[in-house]
């Protein structure tokens, strides 16, 4: 495809199938003062300057296990004194699908990258928003150093619980309600050498705004009720639980286990004559397994399916 020839370090997991790339720019290298003894690197540092505008429009493609549609980018690159200044006026993606379907995504940022030390990039993030579950997730504007652990906060506004539970790969749970949240996370890209970037969430909070909503958990295999007598009341209540309070603490530890401490207050009109109930539910979820399940059941392209099968295969082989 047209792109892979142009970019020299094209990550082989990235393929683009449609769209237009246009780039124009000036490139100057002042040769006076260049002598054989000059350290070429230092020379480039001082005398090389370049400027170019790069625009991408309508790009569809796949990066690793994420399929993206209609990516548009307006960016200005400016290289002087050995530093590349990239101004991302507009980067928006109509839809990204990593099993979880999100979008549109909007990013405005400025990046300062030392020519010979790519890792020490500084990103001045001015806007980073994504539409998800009929609501919005956004990063508070901040400056990030890519060679250090990045810590930021994901703010969630008006997340529709119904839309969220529809993407959750199980038919047993439905619900309504509008969620607000704050997820402080940290992401360490610098230890790229040994393994995938380490991502964890500490003391995140997700709660439903007034007037609350309904949670319906149909554990249709009634066997579940028999075996756990004590569970019977809880399961009956949760079949149609009208909650006033839904408040949860969220954390994601280094081995990617998601811990949810959920506080629910409300009642089930048909159980115990609608007596008030306080639930404290501790949920542990294996995030990678959840994402894989969502990927299997979601509508994503064949190439990603193959990558997932490979991932599954070596996961199955590894714990044989």
């Amino acid at each position: 495809n047209p792109f892979s020839e142009t970019f020299v370090s094209w990550p082989e997991l990235l393929s683009a199938s449609a769209g237009k790339l246009s780039a124009k720019g000036r490139f100057q290298l002042a040769l006076r003062g260049m002598s054989s003894s000059t350290d070429f690197r230092k020379y480039l540092q001082n005398f090389l300057s370049a400027q170019s505008d790069i625009t991408l429009s309508g790009i569809d493609g796949i990066y690793n296990e994420t399929e993206f549609k209609k990516l548009n980018l307006d960016s200005r690159l400016h290289l002087t004194k050995g530093r590349v200044q990239t101004r991302i006026e507009k980067l928006d993606v109509e839809e990204a699908n990593h099993g979880l379907i999100v979008g549109p995504i909007e990013v405005v940022a400025e990046m300062r990258t030392p020519l010979f030390d790519w890792q020490a990039t500084e990103v001045d993030l001015q806007k980073a928003e994504v539409q998800v579950f009929d609501g919005k997730a956004r990063l508070a504007p901040r400056v990030l150093q890519l060679n250090q652990p990045v810590s930021a906060e994901l703010l969630l506004d008006n997340i529709n619980l119904q839309a969220l539970l529809q993407q959750y790969p199980s038919s047993e749970i439905q619900g309504t309600g509008l969620l607000q949240g704050r997820l402080p996370f940290s992401l360490d890209l610098s230890n790229r050498s040994n393994k995938k970037p380490v991502f964890f969430i500490a003391d995140g909070r997700l709660y439903a705004s007034d007037p609350g909503g309904v949670l319906q958990y149909q554990a249709d295999s009634s066997a579940l009720k028999q075996t756990h007598k004590s569970m019977e009341l809880a399961l009956n209540l949760l079949e149609d639980f009208h909650y006033k309070v839904l408040d949860s603490r969220i954390s994601l530890d280094e081995n990617q286990k998601l811990h949810l401490k959920l506080r629910l207050q409300g009642n089930n009109p048909k159980v115990e004559r609608g007596r008030q109930v306080n639930f404290n539910i501790q949920i542990e979820e294996d995030l990678p397994a959840l994402i894989t399940s969502m990927q299997i059941s979601s509508q994503i392209s064949n190439t990603i399916q193959k990558r997932i099968q490979e991932k599954l295969q070596n996961r199955l082989n590894s714990n044989q």
Binding site: A234, R273, V277, N278, E284
Partner: protein
């Protein structure tokens, strides 16, 4: 007149604590089941 029966609703709420551990091997199993269903011998494929 019909006697008004006043049923005193217990005031204090029920407190329930639950611990839930979610496993996701299901979809991987079903993937395998579909493999068999769409094999030559199943007759449905």
């Amino acid at each position: 007149c019909t006697p008004a029966v006043q049923v005193e609703l217990p005031k204090e709420p029920i407190n329930i604590n639950l611990n839930v551990k979610i496993q996701h091997e299901i979809l991987i199993k079903i993937d395998k089941e579909l493999d068999d269903m769409f094999s030559k011998s199943s007759g449905l494929f």
